[in-house]
Symmetry: C2
Subunit: 636 residues, 2 copies
């Protein structure tokens, strides 16, 4: 056994080492007997046998008459058999016990009544016809299910049918979660600077519940070796598995590793996965203790790749594997040779094929998990994957949901969120997925067949016209429609009261004014460059010209936080943040959609919403938009 400190051990090796050690030295807990009616979703700890047969008596399977089959032999249309009630037959209903003296049931439709309890039959019956014989479903003492079986609703039915009212199941593992860190605080809606909201234990609790474990969240422990050691020791005496969730501050992992070492056995410190490297595997008091990194995405990957595997040992049954699909990679992904990488992917179904695009890879960005449709794994020793290659994606969402999603990429406007929400409210089973890559980025995505629609607002400096000339230039041979969106006001956003007295574009070059810009390819940046050229201002003269953000909202958020003095953006974003707004111009924000997508169900719904009263009502409330022609289609 070789232990590995602060190293870069491969995931599979780390897991093998850890699982061997757990199976060797850990205390497993036993089973408990519970009522069958409470046993959904639990796992049998031993085989379950029927106590009674089902049916437990010979049951009539039809409404009709019970008789001896032999009394009907030879019955035909020309040689009917006559029978007398009580002597030769008895009337029975479905579910009645078959009277002992009889062996067959004739359905009532085949009985010809002659009155006075006398009947006539014109067909012979055979023995055990229309009888559910004892044990047809299950025989007493027959095994219903073996050990380690997940109890589905049907299985509960089979238990009860077999007279089984109590069942032995594996106890649910109790998993202790210890959040640590001086700067982390319990969730609140008004944290101060430097205070980090502790939400990992909520995410992990949800994952653990989904996996059939019971989470127990402990109080936040400060960054002190002794406190952490004590907390681990105490949790190890109460729980079956312990998770220590390091914060993101310096030397934290060392504290957790040292703490594990001081009260138990440290096996692994550092695993060759990204995100997720600073992972700690140890055993304290016969209980697995896992140090999970503090960045939420890292934590989720480690929970999924390691904790779930540890739970499987305790559970005796594997979790269902998520569906894996093939997809075409839309963008080159680079990877480190030293790590197995887990990349969150957005997927879309366009032109009959699945397309996958990598999302923000920052391990702190929890919304990238919200947006992700799946995870792509890049093995160790691989430098990356080229655009256009077929890759495997492990889906986090239902395949059908992805197929029923309209992909809208390109320039950002809050109105896309409005459409997304109306679509979800109105038509269940239909989804909108958006990505903010700027107007030019949107055009490129359409060209490459990676999106159904793109939002653009591109000014032609020659004609002063919006969008149309770009469409002609980028799609000379393909039929792509222009769908009118909105006219919106672009302007400069400043802190409330406009403390730096900014009155127009020319003020951006003043000393002591910090600007925040949009990314290259964004329509708003193209507009800024046009305005600067008009006024004869050099980019280099503007402080913050190179500081890039991807949406109107993030520009407004930075200005509102007084982190920048001014940014260029749309009125609705300024209004949401309560900022001052100096209008600069009005522009046209439209959508482009290739002709071949126009008949798709979700594209039609998208156009319907653009034209809807509800959409107009909400945009009017948001202000800064003119919406006369929204949804009108121009075929170029």
């Amino acid at each position: 056994m070789s232990f590995s400190y602060l190293n870069n051990i491969e995931l599979d090796k780390a897991l093998q080492l850890y699982i061997e050690e757990i199976e060797k030295s850990c205390v497993f807990w036993g089973s408990e007997e519970i009522f069958v009616k409470d046993s959904f979703g639990r796992i049998t700890s031993e085989a379950v046998y029927a106590l009674i047969s089902s049916p437990h008596y010979n049951a009539c399977a039809m409404d009709g008459i019970a008789l001896k089959a032999s009394s009907t032999y030879g019955a035909t249309d020309t040689t009917p058999v006559h029978l007398i009630e009580e002597a030769d037959f008895k009337r029975v209903d479905t579910g009645d016990p078959l009277p002992n003296e009889f062996d067959s049931v004739v359905m009532i439709e085949d009985v010809i009544e002659l009155g006075n309890g006398s009947i006539k039959l014109v067909n012979a019956s055979s023995p055990w016809q229309n009888v559910r014989q004892i044990g047809e479903d299950v025989c007493a003492n027959e095994m219903i299910v073996p050990s380690n079986t997940l109890i589905e609703p049907y299985i509960v039915g089979a238990f009860l049918a077999g007279g089984v009212l109590k069942v032995k199941v594996r106890k649910k593992p109790l998993v202790g979660l210890i959040p640590t860190g001086d700067e982390i605080i319990n969730p609140k809606s008004d944290p101060g600077p430097g205070e980090i909201i502790e939400f990992n234990s909520s995410i992990f609790s949800g994952m653990l519940e989904n996996w059939g474990a019971i989470p127990r969240v402990y109080d936040i422990i400060p960054d002190k070796l002794e406190s952490i050691s004590q907390a681990i020791k105490s949790a190890a005496s109460e729980c079956n598995i312990i998770i220590v969730n390091a914060g993101s501050s310096a030397g934290r992992e060392d504290f957790t590793a040292k703490a594990v070492e001081s009260v138990g056995k440290l096996l692994v410190h550092g695993i060759a996965i990204r995100p997720g490297k600073p992972t700690i595997l140890g055993i304290v008091n016969g209980k697995p203790v896992i140090g999970v990194p503090g960045y939420p995405v890292s934590g989720i990957i480690v929970m999924d790749q390691i904790l779930k595997k540890v739970l499987e040992i305790y559970r005796g049954i594997s979790y269902p594997s998520n569906e894996t699909v093939n997809a075409v990679l839309s963008k080159k992904v680079v990877s480190s040779l030293k790590y197995k990488e887990f990349v969150r992917m957005k997927t879309g179904f366009v032109d009959g094929k699945m397309v996958a695009t990598p999302l923000n890879r920052g391990a702190g960005v929890i919304t990238s998990m919200v947006k992700a449709d799946g995870i792509m794994e890049i093995p160790l020793n691989q430098e990356g994957i080229e655009s256009g290659k077929e890759v495997k994606i492990r889906l986090l969402k239902d395949h059908e949901e992805i197929k029923n999603t309209i992909m809208v990429v390109g320039s950002h406007d809050p109105l896309i969120d409005v459409i997304t929400d109306i679509m979800r409210k109105r038509d269940y089973g239909m989804y909108l997925s958006s990505a903010h890559v700027g107007s030019i980025g949107g055009i490129m995505a359409i060209k490459k067949g990676e999106a159904h629609a793109a939002g653009i607002h591109l000014l032609d400096e020659e004609t002063g016209e919006y969008n149309i000339s770009y469409l002609k230039r980028y799609f000379p041979n393909e039929k792509v429609n222009l769908i009118k969106g909105v006219k919106r006001i672009q302007g400069l956003m400043t802190a409330p009261g406009n403390p730096k007295h900014i009155n127009g574009i020319v003020d951006l070059k003043k000393d002591g004014i910090s600007f925040v810009n949009r990314q290259k390819g964004a329509g708003t940046r193209i507009l800024l460059d046009f305005l600067l050229k008009q006024k004869g201002i050099e980019k280099e003269d503007i402080e913050g010209y190179d500081r890039e953000e991807y949406t109107h909202m993030s520009i407004a958020a930075l200005v509102a936080a007084k982190n920048a003095d001014v940014g260029l953006g749309i009125y609705s974003a300024a209004k949401i943040y309560g900022l001052d707004f100096i209008p600069v111009c009005q522009e046209e924000y439209d959508f482009i959609i290739p002709e071949r997508f126009m008949e798709m169900k979700h594209v039609k719904t998208f156009l319907d919403i653009l034209k809807s009263h509800e959409f107009k009502r909400i945009l009017t409330e948001m202000e800064g938009y003119r919406i006369e022609n929204a949804g009108r289609v121009y075929t170029l």
Copy 2:
């Protein structure tokens, strides 16, 4: 609007009619505000927006020093920059707020300490390097998720990161379950004749919980029109949806339909699906009321095909679709032109392809749902599907589980249950699936590539030898191994005390003795025929020779229930049921496995278990077996 009474309306039409009526006339219930920490698995009833940005301040993303990027410009190995603590930089940890006067962070590894608070840098830094800017994850007022979104653990994290502590979600629908029937009783372990255990409401409750609804089970209502009407009315005032579960007795459906009509509106009575035809759709007091048939499999199909669709309206979101796979049909399936049929299927993965076999189609057989791996739908107006055709199967189990299953078919012996259980106990992720089709059936399944192993006990009348000659005869050109199983004692099973004084095979022809036989192709039946021939007894002289059962256990169960006087079977089955046993002969029960499967992981495990101490121990306890050579492989 046309109502349909006791008709045979197509499923899709019935659903469309019903859903339209529900959307028109039903009362929907609203949303409730709950704490985010309690919101896993719930569905948003409106879009959720971030209240604060995350990060809500510019956060240092590395341990190191904060500085102004401009103070490092021009730094190289040969032209290092010297900086003074407090004046030019401050020390920071990951997560710390970036001091207002600075715009960049240099990681500690790149800082060259000169002592006395003085440092040296040899690389220039750029603005906003190693800084998580305000709103990098989510901006205040940005939409986190739209309406009608299932709240996954990640989403809880994103809510909390955005300062959202409470969230509006759709209320869970409350579904009332009304069991009806004079003969049904609450589950118990010793029901009397004619008493039927009511387990449907337990199955349905489990299904409803899995679907995010709250079940409420009412007391059993007797078969009286007034009582049922009253129960529906009362449930409709308390619940959002009502299920009336008719028993299996006569005219029951008429009662429920009449009851619905007397207190509300009856829309459909009779749907063209099998199982599930006697289904009732109605609306009472603005609440959907569904009459679900009493046979459990019918009930499950109706719940899945209709109730789940109704819940989707209330839920605003579709349920994940089960995976659908292609499989080769191993056996012809006949179907009625008048019904859309749902056939429970057993699937197996043999020679790289999925094979599917129909299970018992009796709607009362709940264990067929326990055994089923998936459901095959046969459309209306189709007479059936030929063996060998490719069909679509909607899986009920995980695809991986099916791939990791060894298929053992052929003759029945309780020792197969023992192996199944040991396999589940020992190796999670590996499964055994068995089907009892008799020895000859097992050989045929192996020939057709539908099973990995078959249990056989076939006596060669010429040589007196077991199994080997059959193997040679049926597999002249294929390498199939014989794996020794057990020697077991076959004999006559009678009621305890042997009241009819049966002493041997010759007694079977005595008057007043009822026999129960095994199915054609069963080794035990071949043995009986051999013994009868030896003694010169005619089949026709034995009462019950034509009464067929499929397993030793069901023979023993019928004898134990005094439903037959005698049957031929193995000692272990007689012992389990406490029956008297008159030994007739000892036979050899072995397995056959094609050579090409011998290296498969689950086949190896199967052989290991046959040779294991645990297997021997359990069989010794069961008695009636000799197990010296179990697991020995004979290559013919």
